[in-house]
């Protein structure tokens, strides 16, 4: 081994307790920084991939973000509905490839119920244009069939064939239940890592059937229509909450959006999911940036700790410096020894930090998927992380100048005399 590196490695090994603690503090701070950064990117990635393949989302006129939140994320409520006539009119447009009408407003034990058509299972896409697939069972066929998202079945312990009662409204505890018209679970979806996992899907006719003897959010007194009798009635919905639209040609997206925003019969709004998602993410980015700033400061603390340790060690190493000078080491050589030490410690700390994060992510991945439906890639190495590490190493070189210059000046002044 080259004597220079021998001097560094043996000297570091000689001080291994403080060196290992220093390495650990750098490694932990790096794993925090890289971990936050990784989760941030992964979360953004999975967030913006909640819905894909849909060209427009149409709802009653309100805000862009509001429509996105209730139609895609099942957060908040629609302020108004779209009439079935308007929907039929839009769906028959010449550029329309497919439409998925959805109807929201009911729930089951805190999970939202969404009425839709079978087109949903055929055309809805998430992630990288991934279609929904069934873990068990199949699509709903009958009015009183229900298809559960993965998380719903898992959390409530439901199985195929079981009957469930839906509640009116969205509260976790509801006093107005559609208990006269129970639904049978016919299918359970594979996990998607999107709000679909927390949704109960039934047909639009099912939504219509459970509300047939209701008005203004309450049962009509004295009127009670049984489940069987309801089937005999016309179950075409009068209104829906929103529509997902796929177009034959993407070029038509903007003109159709304009057309719908100016729709005469009813005030409507059409949003482009990709653009609305980015807008929504920008609202969240304040928190994400805050997290990043905090972890950057933690890294700075780690590096400062290292410099403090090196500085504290300098006094004990005066003899070492004098011996090196006596055999001919130039002060610049001493400077380089110290510089290399701080950069080397940081490099090892960074590698260790990445390894720690890799380890934690591996352990965390199955938990995140099963508990939170979050898909996190394990591989944290990307160009961004590499840039962060390069910056941290550069910073360590700058901070390393402090002990290095002190050692340089001291070895120049002390020479061969040993002062303890």
């Amino acid at each position: 081994m080259n004597m220079f590196y021998k001097l560094i490695s043996k000297s570091l090994w000689n001080r291994r307790t403080s060196v290992i603690l220093t390495l650990l503090s750098i490694a932990l701070s790096i794993s925090l920084l890289a971990g936050v950064e990784h989760l941030r990117r992964e979360a953004k990635d999975s967030f913006t991939k909640t819905i894909s393949g849909t060209d427009l989302i149409i709802g009653a006129r309100s805000g862009q973000v509001n429509l996105l939140l209730y139609s895609v994320f099942r957060i908040g409520n629609a302020t108004n509905n779209i009439s079935w006539e308007s929907y039929k009119d839009i769906a028959s447009g010449k550029n329309i490839k497919w439409t998925i009408p959805i109807s929201l407003g009911d729930s089951h034990k805190g999970f939202r119920v969404m009425g839709t058509t079978q087109d949903y299972f055929e055309h809805y896409r998430y992630g990288n244009k991934m279609a929904l697939s069934f873990k068990q069972g199949k699509q709903f066929q009958h009015v009183y069939d229900a298809v559960l998202g993965h998380q719903v079945a898992k959390e409530l312990g439901y199985e195929i064939g079981q009957k469930i009662v839906l509640s009116h409204g969205l509260g976790k505890v509801s006093f107005s239940k559609h208990d006269d018209k129970p639904f049978e679970i016919v299918g359970i979806l594979e996990p998607t890592g999107t709000p679909i996992d927390r949704t109960i899907h039934i047909s639009l006719a099912g939504i219509e059937a459970i509300h047939i003897d209701w008005q203004h959010g309450a049962k009509i007194p004295g009127l009670s229509i049984s489940a069987e009798d309801a089937l005999k009635q016309d179950l075409t919905p009068k209104a829906i909450t929103a529509v997902f639209v796929g177009l034959k040609s993407k070029v038509a997206t903007f003109s159709l959006q304009r057309k719908i925003n100016n729709y005469r019969q009813e005030p409507l709004i059409a949003i482009i999911p990709g653009i609305a998602l980015v807008q929504l993410w920008q609202i969240l980015s304040v928190i994400e940036n805050l997290l990043l700033v905090i972890s950057a400061f933690v890294v700075l603390t780690g590096l400062t700790g290292m410099i403090t340790t090196l500085l504290a060690g300098l006094n004990e190493r005066r003899r070492e410096m004098a011996i090196l000078r006596s055999v001919g080491a130039k002060p610049f050589y001493i400077f380089l020894l110290l510089m290399t030490e701080s950069v080397l410690l940081t490099v090892i700390g960074c590698l260790l930090g990445i390894a720690i994060m890799f380890f934690i992510l591996t352990i965390l991945k199955p938990i995140l998927i099963t508990q939170y439906g979050l898909f996190i890639g394990i591989n944290p190495i990307n160009s961004y992380i590499l840039i962060i590490i390069a910056l941290v190493i550069a910073l360590s070189a700058i901070l390393g100048l402090i002990p290095s210059l002190i050692a340089f000046r001291r070895s120049l002044k002390d020479g061969l005399s040993i002062r303890n």
Binding site: M3, I323, G328, G415, L416, S417
Partner: protein, 226 residues
């Protein structure tokens, strides 16, 4: 015979002080000389050694080492000059505590090409170091031990080996026996002088203990040089 050290009307003064801390009127040491330099504390011993080894430069007069005027060299050149031509032995704790005995002995060869070439002229580098250690009574089983695992006397003998490695022309020993008892001291000096004789090096042995002067060709006192 060439001159190892030649000093003429030397004055040294620390910056920002008025009083001269050291002056040497004349000092000539021939190559191969074994010189005892009596230097009680406060005599400017440290300053003189700093000047001889090129750590500091003098303000007036001249110091020539092996015919080279130190004042004409840059700080870096003086460091290299020291690495190439001077072996230094400290009072105590000569060795880097985290390196083993062999690596401590090899250290000068890392900083000086000349000493590296000299050391591997007759036999491989490692072999030269081992032979040197053996002739100083450091057995092979000690070679891979670290400095803290061997006795003080052994450490000082390893320091001799290091100073002689690659045959520098001048050996400077700064009170190398102060940490040894009487018997060990005499044995140490004899061993040192024997080894120095083999390579025909010059030795400047600094001590406050005048009883050691009898081992040397020449005896000087720093106080009387002025």
């Amino acid at each position: 015979m060439t001159t190892a050290v030649e000093i003429n009307s030397l004055s040294f003064q620390w910056k920002h002080t008025d009083n001269w801390s050291l002056s040497v009127n004349e000092l000539n040491i021939e190559v191969g000389n074994k010189v005892f330099l009596y230097g009680p504390s406060g005599s400017g011993k440290t300053t003189l050694l700093d000047l001889l080894t090129g750590i500091h430069t003098h303000n007036k007069g001249s110091i020539q080492i092996l015919g080279k005027e130190l004042n004409t060299l840059s700080a870096t050149q003086r460091d290299q000059f020291r690495a190439d031509h001077i072996g230094f032995i400290f009072q105590q704790f000569n060795l880097l505590p985290y390196l083993n005995v062999i690596d401590n002995v090899l250290l000068p060869c890392h900083f000086s090409k000349i000493r590296y070439q000299n050391a591997k002229q007759d036999s491989p580098l490692l072999e030269t170091a081992r032979e040197l250690l053996s002739s100083l009574g450091i057995d092979t089983e000690l070679h891979n031990k670290t400095a803290t695992q061997i006795s003080v006397g052994q450490q000082q003998r390893v320091a001799i080996a290091r100073s002689l490695m690659g045959n520098p022309e001048i050996i400077i020993a700064d009170e190398p026996t102060s940490s040894l008892d009487m018997d060990a001291r005499n044995a140490f000096i004899k061993l040192l002088l024997d080894e120095v004789e083999k390579t025909n090096s010059t030795i400047i042995f600094v001590s406050h203990d005048t009883s050691l002067a009898s081992f040397f060709d020449r005896s000087l006192s720093i106080n009387e040089l002025a």
